[in-house]
Symmetry: C2
Subunit: 149 residues, 2 copies
């Protein structure tokens, strides 16, 4: 199942936990996360959605995500061979319509300064994309803050 | 000219100042701001868009907005009698396509704790509305964080 559909199910599920979400945020050039979630107490979670064994095996970057969040999770569908995944990460079982947290990622709290920067990045990312939806005429004016990574 | 069209022009113009924007954010129950903008250094501005003299004269709440932002502005079109507006507020001339800041609102910096809360509110507001656009199926799941005010 494509990662984007898993991401949709993950984002729907996280609503029930009081989290809001964005997709494809870029914490730093060269790194793009599938789902970044902001919790009711300002918690920041990252969820990487893996559609297949091959999709997981070719991702060399995941350790780089850990420093940008309080908790890290993989999201996979029910056919995914979960024994491939590192046991020390969180695990979410997802389909396009919903998801379930099977294992919480261990907490490694962000320092205050980085949390502040990430919350602002989250806000800017969400607001720019929202503005492009509510006013399609603005798209040409919006600077590209999210280069491909 | 309807306030929503002025808000569109204001939001387009603020892109050029490096600000991202949301519309109709509710800082506290009973108070709904037309435009809240988040700047490149985390600045928070509020812009109230007034379509007519009557629209302005019936707004008894504007003093209540000041404590939620670093700077406050009125946005009006070129037919508006600007002499009605308090001289100590910022002033933006707007149309549906663009705007111009005629007078900066004086700066009254938010305390750190409130800035943190407002940045998170901004992020949550933007992300929830963005999610409703990218996944219309989620709307029924989203709690209403913005009661009419």
């Amino acid at each position: 199942m494509p990662g984007q559909l898993l991401a949709r199910g993950v984002c729907r599920h996280l609503v029930g936990h009081g989290f809001v979400t964005v997709e494809e945020l870029v914490p730093r050039p060269g790194l793009r996360v599938d789902v970044m979630a902001l919790g009711p107490k300002g918690e920041i979670w990252i969820v990487e959605c893996k559609s297949s064994r091959a999709d997981f095996m070719t991702d060399q970057k995941w350790h780089g995500y850990l420093e940008w969040c309080d908790r890290f999770f993989w999201a996979v569908d029910s056919d995914f061979p979960t024994e491939l995944l590192p046991a020390e990460s969180g695990l979410i079982l997802a389909d396009p319509y919903d998801a379930e947290i099977l294992r919480m990622g261990p907490e490694s709290k962000l320092a205050g300064a980085r949390r502040k920067v990430m919350t602002q990045k989250f806000a800017r990312h969400a607001a720019r994309r929202l503005q492009a939806f509510r006013d399609p005429g603005v798209r040409a004016l919006l600077p590209d803050e999210t280069p491909p990574g």
